[in-house]
Symmetry: C2
Subunit: 132 residues, 2 copies
DNA sequence: CTTGATCCTCCAGTCATTGGAGGATGTAGG
DNA sequence: CCTACATCCTCCAATGACTGGAGGATCAAG
């Protein structure tokens, strides 16, 4: 059989903290791992793949709930693909909105940062800008 | 004397939850409020201004620690303005970085969302894209 | 046989709030 | 004056997504 992995191997292979993997198991993102006689978790290639999926989705900003849905859909290949697309598109909309909001914020911050004429705090317009 | 405000007035005037104002007091963003005989917090115009400042800075994405620094600087008008500018500029850099990262993310998500050819989950490329 | 790495469970802390229980006080209408 | 009802108080727990540590067991290598 293929080599079995310890939790530390999974952690090293995916750049995840060991504690985080245990946490993913607790909240049901990772399947409950099989154990050795002494109680240590063991994993296979499928688990590694699953963890990679989770981590990548997290880096893309999906929330654990969304990831849970995606994983459930992936586990059931006969379902129509619409739901998957929906989750992705909705998330894309979120991201675009976030970008738009941050852009406004950046403009305001740029104005604020420029408003400093040097000198003392009492003369500094930044504080006023923040207050307004 | 000027009218004194109750915590609910402050909340209404700034769109802040009452609990949040008490929390700000606890963590030292708001000054400890004077109390009525029965123990209710009372505020003046200065407090309202301070809370507005805090809320605006929070909306701009400043962390409470940064706001604490800004407030401390504001309380000491003789200090040079550099530190204020530094905080603002550093935060501006943060925001720009965040925007850049989100833009990359959006590109990836757009690719992913486009990769769906319809049909069943088993044929949907989105799951693969997320896994990779 | 000992050392050091890795594993285990359980618990507390992070950040910035939010919400609620349980009780005291204030105000307006009848 | 009494009764609602709103508002206030304190204290505590929860959120999301982890992170870190205490205290102890187990494993591989030298």
């Amino acid at each position: 059989m293929s080599k079995m992995l310890m939790i530390g191997d999974l952690a090293a292979a995916t750049g995840t903290k060991v504690n985080t993997i245990r946490f993913y198991e607790e909240i049901g993102l990772m399947r409950r791992a099989a154990r050795t006689q002494s109680g240590r978790r063991t994993y296979g290639a499928g688990d590694l793949e699953r963890l990679r999926f989770i981590r990548h989705a997290r880096k893309l900003g999906f929330e654990t709930q969304e990831i849970r849905s995606l994983l459930a859909l992936g586990d059931d290949p006969e379902r129509p693909c619409d739901e998957v697309t929906q989750i992705a598109v909705r998330h894309l909309d979120d991201v675009n909105e976030k970008i738009a909001r941050l852009a406004l914020l950046r403009d305001e911050l740029e104005q604020i940062a420029r408003s400093c004429a040097g000198g003392l705090v009492s003369e500094c317009r930044i504080m006023d800008s923040l207050g307004a």
